[in-house]
Symmetry: C2
DNA sequence: CACGTTCGTTTACATTTGTAAACACAAAAG
DNA sequence: CTTTTGTGTTTACAAATGTAAACGAACGTG
């Protein structure tokens, strides 16, 4: 399931890695991007150029000419993009797995005190109306062997 | 980034949907699978057969002959597979985005009381040592414009 | 002003993935 | 026992993706 869908179109893993760089820098020239990605990935200059080009065609990046080079700027924000690809993934996962999954993520992710506080608050809000059991919804009710 | 990596090999979205069915049923014949997937997806019988075949080659499913048909059984468990693809996704996301992302997931996911309790416990454990600020790690320290 | 350097654009090509028809074989039916 | 039918296997092919060389235009340099 290689590609993450954002905004209707989809972005591949390779493209995503480049977006991360542009998001982090705010904007960058292709040279910057090539150098930065090569710290992590063994991609040729040509490969990165192709990927950047595709990101522009897909309207994820815009370019602004500045002297001889182009400056790449994100056309979509990182937060929404991150939420989107995650939602997409969660939509492909059995509902019964989500609780344990989130628990594991909470345990493994480095969270700030503020993050923790807001999560605790959210959980406190949810608790009163939380069901005892979760149904999976993987299949139409009567064909499910897992939760029903 | 279409494909989710599990166990070293990778599984595509389409294949994943079939695995969900087999996981949910425990095991199933191709006919069962074809009928069940067609409740959700407009895939031809042939397409499903191809996909099942690929899942067998990739060692995600095994087959057992039973009369004229084969019974497909998962060779990997759903829980670990789910955790794997999620970890993979999280590894491609900026550390600074993870807190807000998890918060959103917690809010949007239907959680059981047990899930909530264990998450609260996990958060309580983490709180004392939680940092005030999160750094992003998207780029080597001195090249980062976002957190440093 | 000619020339090499530095980009962005085109073109290329092997794999993977989505989609599916054609084929082969075993089992059920008559 | 022959025919039909349900199933797995092969073969097919276009689109997407990873990977990259070749080409061409613009800019700085001598």
């Amino acid at each position: 399931m290689e590609s993450m869908e954002v905004n209707g179109t989809e972005m591949t893993s390779a493209e995503w890695e480049l977006m991360r760089i542009v998001w982090t820098k705010g904007q960058a020239s292709s040279t910057d991007i090539i150098h930065l990605i090569q710290l992590k990935k063994d991609w040729s200059e040509s490969t990165v150029k192709t990927l950047l080009h595709r990101l522009v065609s897909k309207n994820y990046l815009s370019t602004t000419k500045e002297g001889r080079r182009f400056i790449y700027t994100p056309l979509i924000d990182e937060g929404p993009a991150v939420q989107q690809i995650t939602s997409d993934l969660f939509n492909q996962i059995c509902d019964m797995e989500k609780g344990p999954l989130l628990l594991k993520l909470i345990k493994e992710t480095t969270l700030s005190q503020a993050d923790i506080t807001s999560m605790q608050a959210a959980l406190t809000v949810k608790a009163p109306n939380a069901p005892t059991e979760i149904h999976c919804h993987c299949l139409p009710d009567d064909t499910c062997n897992k939760c029903c």
